[in-house]
């Protein structure tokens, strides 16, 4: 059905597309796909960091995974962390973004105040929160005591250490999501809101029925990015708890780091990384299936 020139146009469009993708692909191939391929190869081998000797193991690393209690624990911690952090951080971010998407007095200051945690290097942020969470004399416990609630040992308590890190993550990342959502809000035509306002639609209804659908592509993006980020969370565990107490804060990425760099067990670390990749990939597919279809693009 396709005639020559039309076909040619289509081919040249594809050609252009590949050309545009080329710069990215060259670097991705070198610094992402190559490591992933090596990681797949390593996962079937006994590889020790620093040594050139490699032994074939077959599926032994994967079998190890099944019986590795710490792996399952860290996986559970990661899932818990994600399920709590992402919805909370994104909700806070969305409300902040909507609130700050107006010509409010002191807007620059507000935005900076909510965004700055993203900028604090994780080493420093971790240390500061170690202090804030300090038992007894820490400001958070002082505040809790002022409210008449029982004090908590936070990072020293296996039950509270992970929630403590989650809470700090929300502080650290809400501003980040807020910024992205703010950028999306800027692109919503103002008259849509004005029209709804004139129609007497309440602020909450406007948020749910106008704002959210209109920024749904960005929201979708933020959810996916949030998911991916939460699996990369490592710095705070590294700085604040080193996975303790009693592995209560050991998350998968930290466990991968431990295995690869501390235990030099590159083979097993690669296995973990591959499993994480599969897991995250599946999760994202799930999100894409659930949310992706509801995303409404203004452009189309």
């Amino acid at each position: 059905m396709v005639t020559g020139p039309a076909l040619r146009a289509r081919v040249s469009e594809a050609g252009l597309a590949y050309l545009l993708l080329l710069p990215s692909l060259v670097f991705l191939a070198t610094f992402t796909y190559w490591p992933i391929l090596r990681s797949i190869y390593f996962s079937f081998h006994d590889v020790v960091l620093g040594s050139n000797k490699i032994y074939f193991l077959g599926f032994e690393n994967y079998e190890r995974l099944w019986t590795d209690k710490l792996f399952w624990k860290s996986l559970g911690n990661t899932v818990f962390y994600t399920l709590v952090t992402i919805p909370c951080a994104i909700t806070v971010a969305l409300l902040l973004a909507v609130a700050l998407d107006s010509k409010l007095r002191g807007m620059t200051f507000y935005r900076s105040a909510f965004f700055y945690p993203v900028m604090i290097p994780s080493v420093a942020a971790g240390m500061v929160w170690v202090f804030l969470y300090a038992p007894g004399y820490g400001p958070i416990n002082s505040a809790i005591a002022a409210l008449g609630l029982p004090k908590v040992e936070w990072l020293y308590d296996a039950r509270w250490a992970l929630p403590a890190i989650i809470f700090m993550s929300i502080w650290k990342y809400a501003g980040y999501f807020m910024l992205i959502l703010l950028a999306a809000l800027q692109m919503i035509p103002a008259d849509l809101h004005e029209a709804a306002k004139l129609d007497g639609v309440s602020a909450i209804d406007r948020l749910i029925h106008i704002t959210v659908p209109l920024i749904s592509p960005t929201l979708y993006f933020v959810i996916i990015i949030g998911l991916l980020h939460s699996y990369q969370i490592f710095d705070y565990v590294y700085v604040m708890t080193q996975g303790g107490p009693a592995d209560a804060t050991n998350v998968l990425t930290f466990y991968i780091y431990q295995n690869g760099f501390q235990y030099q067990d590159i083979g097993y670390a690669s296995t973990l990384a591959n499993v994480l990749l599969l897991f995250v990939g599946g999760l994202i597919t799930l999100v894409a299936l659930v949310f992706g279809r509801r995303v409404h693009y203004l452009g189309r």
């Binding site: 594809a14 252009l16 990215s24 610094f31 490591p35 604090i120 290097p121 240390m127 502080w171 692109m187």
Partner: protein, 295 residues
Amino acid sequence: MATLQDPIELSAPATSRGTLLALRTALRRNWLHFVLLPLMLFWISPLAWIIITSLKSRTEVFDPNAGILPAVLQWGNYPAAMAVAPFGTYLINSVLATGGILVCELITITLAAYAFARLNFPGKNILFTLFLLQIMFPIYATFLTNFVTVRELGILNSLPALIVPFVASGYGTFMLRQAFRQVPTELADAARLDGCGHLGILWHVYLPLVKPTLIAFSIIAVVTHWNDYMWPLLVTNSESVRTLPIGLGLLAKSDSGADWTRLMAATVVVVSPLLLFFVIFQRRFVDSFMHAGLK
């Protein structure tokens, strides 16, 4: 900046029954402030602590009897913190490395995102997934192989080594693709009729219209890479190519408890350029594109 709430109006002289009314009006107009202000105070309290601690003497930091504010402002903490490493060189390197990453990323993601958002080609979905792989794979698992690659390229212990792994960004491509897809297709059509090719459309229509997203991405990219620690530590040896977070690492050591006052002073120094950068760019965000009215 223009404000909706005119301050004069708020303090307008109360007429006969006006005081209460004025108060209520003030409340209604400013309710957002009443919600945001406490939250904001909570949000900035760690920063306040950082700044206050950076000006304390060492014994004041944890002394429960010392009060919140330092008795004497210890400005000396700043030079003392800066003295542990050549922070000037580190600053220049951080600017170069972060700037280099940003420029490279902006180029690669713009091109790639346009292809994904607006062109049809075989293998589009698979390629997009491949781009996302970059964010899905734990970064620490790439370090070993990338270290070997960087060494083979002969750029170990150099600024390019800090940049190359981050030139392509699945994240940025994804973000920008979402923004591009928000731009009405009719605008691209109009531009084609106006004689633009794909690159012309990209340059004249898409990029100006997704400026808020570009700025948001830039801010995020800068912040992320400004604070990179592990990778720079691994691939650099010389002071002359090292970056600020490594200097910070010197003060946040594991053996003896942190060097609180100087660590916080250094944190302030490291964060300040970012904060400045953010304040400048988030203004542009508002001014240039407040509801540009894409429809």
